[in-house]
């Protein structure tokens, strides 16, 4: 899909927010001087072409209840795949990345409570014999990140 100037403006504008009103698309379309149905059709096309991965509310997972923790392990190369399998088998492991460092496996634990974070980390340590370092967030900094379209 080739994006035209209007598509790019829509992508840039809609990263900043979308109104909670009766006819929100009509309201935003007006800013671009295009009809409501054109805006909707463009969003549909960009979603279809996977230029847009998601359009909707972004929730603060922690505010909804639950505990999260970034964890890391230093896994010997020859055991890497076997350890990945053991770690990923836990439903509490939300995502897991191989990274370039001595600490080469980084994953996020998502559980109902703080206590379960510690319990899951401990279980993974027992199953793999490798220490699980825990890096809970102490402070989150406000972000201005936008993907320039």
């Amino acid at each position: 899909m080739t994006l035209d100037e209007t598509d790019r403006r829509i992508l840039n504008r809609l990263q900043d927010g979308f109104p909670i009103t009766e006819r929100p698309f009509a309201q935003v379309a007006e800013e671009f001087g295009i009809p409501e149905d054109d805006l909707i059709a463009r969003l549909e096309a960009m979603k279809e072409a996977r230029v847009i991965t998601r359009f909707g509310p972004f929730f603060d997972a922690a505010a909804m209840g639950g505990a999260f923790c970034l964890c890391a392990m230093a896994v010997p190369e020859e055991e890497f795949d076997a350890v990945a399998e053991k770690v990923n088998a836990h439903p509490e492991v939300a995502h897991n990345y191989a990274r370039t460092h001595r600490l080469n496996m980084w994953f996020v634990l998502a559980t109902e409570s703080e206590a379960e974070i510690a319990q899951t980390a401990e279980r993974i340590e027992q199953e793999t014999g490798i220490a699980v370092l825990q890096f809970p967030k102490l402070q989150e900094f406000f972000i201005r990140f936008r993907v320039a379209a």
């Binding site: 009103t21 009766e22 509310p57």
Partner: protein, 162 residues
């Protein structure tokens, strides 16, 4: 803000996105058997309390040419991390920025900033911008590139217990 069952049903109904129809909130309200005005008021309240961070488009970084990213990590003086962490968060190429505990002696870093760019070279250039910004409040840094996604499952709202 305390979420009730109705708020949770709204979260569940909108987690995968808003419908692309002229009146998306009316449609969700109908699906949930709610009044549209009430649904919008509840979403507004969730947005004001920060449960909804924002309603927005998430563009696909890769399709827009942002194909490289790296987790940069820094050992920043504790006394200055609040101020400097916020300055790093304000950089438009940083998508996540957190203070996290060090794990000494293995891990001296307490500031994590995810950098996005169009190439590994660009990410390295942006990383040196952060180093310059942190200046002598920073005792060292590193960058970790992801080589493989081993697991990726969306964060789902869990069932509320009693």
């Amino acid at each position: 803000m305390k979420l009730d069952t109705i708020d949770r049903s709204i979260i569940t109904a909108t987690q995968s996105g808003l419908p692309l129809v002229p009146q998306p909130y009316a449609q969700i309200a109908t699906d949930l058997g709610l009044d549209e005005a009430e649904l919008r008021a509840r979403m507004q309240a969730m947005q004001e309390s920060g449960i909804i961070r924002r309603i927005a488009v998430a563009p696909n970084h890769y399709k827009l040419g942002m194909t490289a990213n790296g987790m940069s990590v820094w050992d920043v003086e504790d006394a200055r991390i609040a101020e400097l962490g916020q300055q790093v968060g304000n950089l438009d190429f940083v998508s996540h920025c957190y203070e996290r505990p060090r794990a000494l002696p293995d891990w001296p870093y307490n500031l994590f900033a995810m950098i996005h760019g169009s190439s590994r070279d660009e990410v390295e250039t942006l990383r040196s911008e952060i180093a310059a910004l942190l200046g002598d409040a920073c005792r060292g840094g590193d960058i970790l590139y992801s080589t493989r996604i081993l697991k990726k499952s969306g964060l789902r709202l869990r069932q509320q217990k009693g």
